[in-house]
């Protein structure tokens, strides 16, 4: 192993209400590929953002090439030779490959941009990396894989000494991943330090030299990849103390009827051949890592995204769901993971939000029957225990938990019997979380059926009667709560794809 190029020591970072990084340590040597692993929300991205100057650390030190450094923005970090290849590609689709690689630092000939030189230099870069991309091609005409190669070329053209790959393989095909690995091995040979963030256990084994594991914003440990097993890493990732008691057995009676059956659902790359059943009064947990295709499955089921094939049965009857309107008509409600974008209209009152999906019920001729609207809203404020001075309060003034209740009210007013909760407690503080949990349990006991998508393992284990695990667009397992453990779920969620 080579000499140490980067040391991050005792890095601490607190956001309002969240201790995102709790005295984290990280070390990178020249000529090594170092994996950074952890569940969603473990703090990997935050750590990298602190390193590249997007966030400012509260305390701790970063020593780079023997000197203590503090970058104020990505540009500073780039200048120093630390570049990040983002998971979402930062490319200008309407410009050419060469124009993208040199954007912001074009070669000039007087007033004129020297496109010819940029093309030449790009060609040299690609030769160095042994990849064949036409520097004159329009960026948006390239495949995602090729675009990523361009990002890497751009990173290297910055005279990078440390390259951070943030889940680089998420959108790549097998072949493209092989090409990517060839490049990474090449870079390692050139003595660059490489940080590799990924969820794919098999990749970690193939490409990395060491693994650092984080959990809940803390540093768990660093292992030599060749000396450890997949199970070692998983145990380090999930080995936290569970504060909330997981459910021990299913609350659903054995004879509860199947209310929803999804049969061989396909929708693009993220939903491949997904089948499952949901029974009356059941909370069905959907577990998996980010990008496993859970939200996409829900959206396809709800008609928000087009599906390529598959059948949906409600109460045994085959139904056609091609739009959210169809879904709602069949009693399916969807609570988006991104409340502010899809769930509520924040600048409107609770009343207006509650009846948004059902306004036709509250019309008196051409006009809205305000009294009836208000009555039903107040009924649900009481029933869901929403904390608000009045039904006329603007939703923007409510806390996250109470906003979530308004969304729930909206679907209950609509008489939905099947509710899809997508990350129901994201951005909600601990106390309010418990209330949402209680509410979901009550809804289930009253006969509503719930699909709960969650990236939080504890939430899955605490709420679900049964757990569906997804990985890379496929359903990789179905576990009754009685047999569910964090390890069992994580194993399926990171399953090596054959």
């Amino acid at each position: 192993m080579g000499e140490v190029i980067l040391t991050m020591k005792d890095i601490d970072k607190t956001f309002p209400g969240v201790h995102a990084l709790d005295h984290v340590n990280f070390e990178l040597e020249k000529g090594e590929v170092h994996a950074l692993m952890g569940e969603n929300g473990a703090g990997k991205s935050t750590l990298m953002k602190v390193l590249t100057g997007i966030y400012t650390k509260d305390s701790g030190s970063i020593i780079y090439e023997g000197r203590e450094v503090e970058f104020h923005n990505t540009h500073d970090a780039q200048e120093a030779g630390i570049v990040i290849v983002h998971q979402e590609l930062n490319m200008v689709g309407d410009l050419t490959v060469a124009q993208n690689i040199f954007i912001g630092r074009e070669f000039m000939k007087g007033f004129m941009i020297d496109d010819r030189k940029m093309i030449e230099e790009s060609r040299k870069l690609f030769d160095e990396l042994h990849i064949s991309i036409d520097p004159k091609a329009r960026m948006s005409d390239l495949t995602v894989g090729k675009q990523q190669m361009c990002e890497i070329a751009k990173a290297i053209s910055h005279k990078a000494k440390v390259i951070i790959f943030d889940e680089p393989s998420a959108a790549l095909t097998e072949k493209e991943i092989e090409d990517l690995f060839a490049i990474i091995r090449d870079l390692r040979k050139q003595n660059l330090g490489i940080i590799y963030i990924s969820h794919r256990m098999d990749e970690i084994k193939v490409i990395t030299d060491r693994v650092t594991v984080m959990r809940d914003g803390t540093y768990v440990g660093t292992l030599i990849t060749n000396d450890c097993t997949k199970e070692d890493i998983i145990n380090m990732m999930v080995g936290r103390v569970i504060y909330e008691e997981p459910k021990t057995h299913s609350m659903v009676p054995a004879d509860a009827p199947v209310v929803l059956k999804v049969d061989h659902l396909n929708a693009g790359k993220m939903v491949q051949d997904v089948s499952f059943e949901l029974r009356k009064g059941e909370i069905l947990g959907f577990s998996g890592l980010m990008g496993a295709g859970r939200t996409e499955t829900a959206r396809a089921l709800f008609g928000a995204d087009p599906k390529t094939s598959g059948d949906i049965y409600i109460n045994g009857q085959k139904v056609e769901i091609n739009s959210p309107r169809d879904a709602v008509k069949h009693g399916i409600g969807y609570l988006s993971e991104d409340r502010k974008r899809y769930g509520i209209v924040v600048q409107k009152t609770i009343t207006e939000n509650s009846t948004l999906a059902t306004l036709e019920k509250y019309m008196a001729g051409l006009f809205i029957n305000k009294a009836a609207e208000k009555a039903v809203t107040e009924q649900y404020i009481k029933e869901l225990d929403t904390k608000t001075p009045s039904a006329d309060q603007l939703v923007v003034n409510l806390s996250g938990g109470n906003q979530q209740k308004v969304v729930i009210a909206k679907w209950l007013v609509r008489n939905c019997d099947i509710l899809i909760f997508d990350e129901p407690t994201r951005g909600i503080d601990v106390g309010a979380k418990n209330e949402i949990y209680k509410l979901m349990n009550r809804l289930a006991s009253e006969g509503k059926s719930i699909i709960m998508i969650s990236s939080e393992m504890t939430e899955i284990l605490r709420m679900s009667d049964r757990i569906v695990v997804m990985c890379e667009g496929k359903k990789t397992g179905e576990i009754p709560i009685e047999e569910a453990t964090q390890e069992a779920i994580m194993d399926k969620a990171t399953r090596d794809i054959a």
Partner: protein, 322 residues
């Protein structure tokens, strides 16, 4: 392996449309073929085309500039007023007119880029303000610039000169061609042009690449204002008297021209030569349709339909590429 695109560029389609339109009008109407008609169509075209060239830049960033129509009238009023009321040299008035446009453009840019107003809203406000401002400056009176026969009316010959045998030549067309070439070069081969496209295509990526996006975003609107100022001079040269309170709606023809000429309605793509050709399509429709028996209302409807067609081509093109 980028797929070879078989889509013909919209610029070529529009150029063909322009030629076909011209031929149809000539075939049906003998009057349209007259040289004097050609001259008057050219006269009208200059200020529309100048506005279109300018507004192409905000459009390519995914924004818009609605202030150029009323702005143009406002700047022309101000310049003319200086000559009438204070007897300033014409050259000075022209410079003030152009700088006024540039100034309002910079104001737009600051509102949008630094203060974060949506382009539609910011320029709608300056549209209203310039409309009122023109009237305030002149005390609501119409302002005639010097006529061609007057001594200080030399600026008319920028756009139209008479030869020795009294034939008039549309000199303005030469300037339009020249400006088209210059601005196309600016768009395709300078940092400013490249970042204009980058802002329209993926602003986030542009920021992350360390580009001073705020500055360039202001410049985009400054260019649009500058060309509205130039258009004001062209307007004063061909329209005898500048009327306060007019100009609203002219920006739509200019914007329409740019869109017809292939500027993407969602930003990220466009050419200046396409914009100019597109603007001429709109002008031909405006000026030519009455010659073949369509009244002004019909002409509006047809122009609207042509715009829909152009935007559909853009949308289909984007889908094909995806």
């Amino acid at each position: 392996m980028a797929k070879k695109k078989t889509v013909i560029s919209q610029e070529i389609i529009v150029a063909i449309v322009l030629v076909v339109l011209y031929l149809i009008f000539r075939l049906i109407s003998a009057d349209f073929g007259k040289y004097t008609t050609f001259l008057s169509v050219m006269d009208i075209s200059y200020y529309y085309v100048l506005m279109a060239i300018g507004v192409a830049f905000p459009l390519i960033t995914g924004g818009v500039d609605l202030s150029i129509g009323t702005g143009m009238i406002c700047y022309a009023l101000a310049g003319g007023f200086l000559i009438r009321a204070f007897n300033v040299p014409t050259g000075f008035a022209i410079v003030v007119t152009i700088l006024f446009g540039l100034g309002i453009g910079i104001v737009n840019g600051i509102l949008i880029s630094l203060m974060g107003l949506p382009p539609f809203l910011a320029t709608l406000c300056t549209c209203m303000i310039t409309r009122g401002l023109g009237s305030v400056v002149t005390g609501s009176f119409a302002v005639p610039w010097p006529t061609a026969k007057q001594a200080n009316g030399w600026f008319h010959s920028i756009f139209k000169i008479a030869t020795a045998d009294k034939t008039k030549l549309p000199l303005g067309l030469l300037w339009i061609i020249l400006l088209t070439l210059i601005m196309q070069f600016v768009l395709a081969h300078t940092r400013f042009g490249r970042y204009t496209i980058a802002i329209g295509s993926n602003k986030e990526a542009a920021i992350l690449s360390g580009i001073n996006v705020k500055f360039f975003h202001v410049m985009v609107y400054a260019v649009s204002g500058l060309f509205a100022g130039l258009a004001a001079v062209a307007y004063a040269a061909v329209i005898k008297t500048v009327q306060p309170g007019t100009g609203a709606g002219m920006e739509l023809d200019a914007i329409g021209g740019a869109i017809v000429g292939g500027v993407s309605a969602s930003g990220g793509y466009g050419t200046i030569y396409g914009t100019v050709i597109g603007a001429y399509v709109i002008i031909f429709l405006k000026q030519g349709l009455p010659y073949i028996g369509f009244n002004a209302n019909m002409q509006q409807i047809i122009t609207g339909l042509v715009l829909i067609g152009a935007v559909c081509i853009d949308i289909v093109k984007r889908r094909v590429i995806k």
